[in-house]
Symmetry: C2
Amino acid sequence: MVSTIELSKRQEQIVQIVKDNGPITGEAIADRLSLTRATLRPDLAILTMAGYLEARPRVGYFYTGKTGQQLLADKIKKIKVMDHQSIPVVVNESLSVYDAIVTMFLEDVGTLFVVDKSSLLVGVLSRKDLLRASLGNQDLKSIPVTIIMTRMPNITMCEKDDLLLEVAHKLIDKQIDALPVVKHSERGIEVIGRITKTNMTKALVALAGDEIL
Amino acid sequence: MVSTIELSKRQEQIVQIVKDNGPITGEAIADRLSLTRATLRPDLAILTMAGYLEARPRVGYFYTGKTGQQLLADKIKKIKVMDHQSIPVVVNESLSVYDAIVTMFLEDVGTLFVVDKSSLLVGVLSRKDLLRASLGNQDLKSIPVTIIMTRMPNITMCEKDDLLLEVAHKLIDKQIDALPVVKHSERGIEVIGRITKTNMTKALVALAGDEIL
């Protein structure tokens, strides 16, 4: 069981004192707060359990450098891509840009993965790529997706065992909406999933407990 | 400061005892564990602070029914839209679809808000709307955005004091990428922000603590 606790004003003061003066004894902390050692005992027990402070016999309390934020982070850092990935939608490299847009609407996705005849990943198509193509004065039915897609080795990918948070960083840094979840084999790169900003939004909702608001 | 703590084996036993027998005194809990009341004091303090147990004078400890998951959820449920909203990009209702697509690329956003001459919200344009328009065989430069935008009263909106989680639910349920953050006044609806699935992804990263992985 993991739980969250909100520190009291006094507990925050204690953390600050230890941060500034540690190692420091319980007695010395109590002095600074004009309280008795006994009064502080439950607070010190909580701060030690929560990981803020570390107690070393005959020396005193140390500040561990871990903030509440970091401790909460530990839980989020355990989430894997496979816990939230969606089914990928793939199209053949011979498809036209026009048909790719139609596929996007039919399948109701924002990103398509382009595969070759052997079903191996060769490209990624985002709404942005398709929209950019539509600005040109060309006939979208006669342009193959291979002309406009992002291709290897420029595709940002991930694997099912990767951390969800790493993927979140990639989505933000590269300003993209989705990554293919891939499996590397002797044959090449196979697409086994899709992870999007929608999945990230759902992960946030799941962390909050799936309840109806 | 908010922190997460992992309950010890003994603390889990205490929760179980209170769950099965509460209300129960500290003395009675100690008896069942063959420990002294004094030994249990820090554990009971932690369980009470963490919200698992509630102590009522002269009656004993109650189980609150809150799990670690629920308590973590409490933290996420406190996040407001204003904690994560972005600056909105607005366009005039007289703009052409072509220029709207160009604006989307120049401003690097996925959603534009359409305003009238008084700067009041009249519509929303998503990449999906613009992409759909590009499938038609029309000249994108001659179609005004008002023809293809989502208009009032079909616009899903939110306010800066709304809970981020409520917005996350709306984005998922309505399958949209962004909502305008609005302010209602006598004049009408003013757009003051933008909240997107990118913001949700950033919120997830922020909860995990902004560290480089």
